[in-house]
């Protein structure tokens, strides 16, 4: 990492991690480095998220290719300020964390890599509490490449 980025991250880490309006682009090194969902959730302070049907996942049950799996997430939990996306069976489950400020709806659609058939786990933070929803995605590699 070039020196500038290292100092930037060090400075960011020193400040209490509240999604301040982009004081410095923070990146949850421990969360993204975690090898299990449980460890990743610990870094987000979300060890016991409450299952919620107001947290909606729109994703195919079968993906013809794990390299690109479309996942659409909408949180109808009032006061949602962030959404984290994890793929349980991936080497590093945490793939994204999105902080929503005034003016944005708690919604995101993305393409993720799903290494093998796995649960997609979405954790939303609203008014200091965490909520969770999951869906299984079966992965096959279609095609007949020679």
């Amino acid at each position: 990492m070039n020196p500038l980025r290292r100092t930037l991250l060090a400075a960011a880490a020193a400040i209490v991690l509240k999604p301040l309006a982009a004081l410095a682009a923070t990146w949850n090194k421990d969360g993204f480095g975690a090898k299990t969902t449980a460890d990743a959730l610990k870094t987000l302070g979300a060890t016991q998220p409450l299952p919620s049907k107001d947290l909606l996942i729109e994703a195919p049950e079968i993906a013809e290719n794990g390299a690109v799996v479309p996942i659409e997430i909408t949180s109808n939990v009032p006061g949602t300020t962030s959404i984290a996306v994890l793929i349980d069976k991936n080497p590093f489950p945490l793939v994204g964390k999105f902080d929503f400020m005034e003016g944005a709806l708690p919604f995101v659609k993305l393409n993720a890599k799903v290494g093998e058939t796995s649960e997609v786990r979405v954790v939303a933070e609203a008014r200091g509490k965490h909520y969770v929803a999951t869906q299984e995605i079966k992965v096959t590699i279609g095609g007949c490449g020679g």
Binding site: I141, C144, G146
Partner: protein
Amino acid sequence: MKRIFLVAVLVAPSALADPTPQDVQKLMQRDFHARGQAGMDRVVQDGLQRLCTESRDNPPAGAAKAIEADQMKTIVFPEGSLMGDWKRGESIAQNGRGLQWTDKPGDAAGGSCYNCHQLSPQEASFGTLGPSLQQFGKLRGNGPEIQRYVYGKIYNAKAYNLCSQMPRLGLSGTLSAEQIKDLVALLLDADSPVNQ
């Protein structure tokens, strides 16, 4: 050269006569070039390919029987048992490489069996161009005659069904005798997952 129409070929929308296999071969000889192990000899049709092309895989019975007999003569049966190791057979069935310009001549070639057939129940990604071969040995036993039939069929499928889509895996030099014996085991060996 008067063009002979063997069997009712799909009628071309225009009055223009359809190109013959000879016309197509001539164009290919001009438009293709060798690459890697894929040489230009492959562009020249043999009698079997020509008859199946002209008849859209519905050859007249007489002509078909004659060529099938010729093809049967090309099958070389090794000495002794025709059953090899079904574990090696499974990886040969999974392996889709062999004879392509992207395959180096030394590389191990496979039978591409899962492309077209269902074999072991564990493999869900199987093709349906060929019949399912699940329980093949359980249903037909694994005596010498069935071993010979399966070996011959893999070596040269066209000896049994002239215009079959199954490649002539032995005759074309794709698979060795050893590899074919391993596939025979995959199909017939009682311990093979195909027969569980």
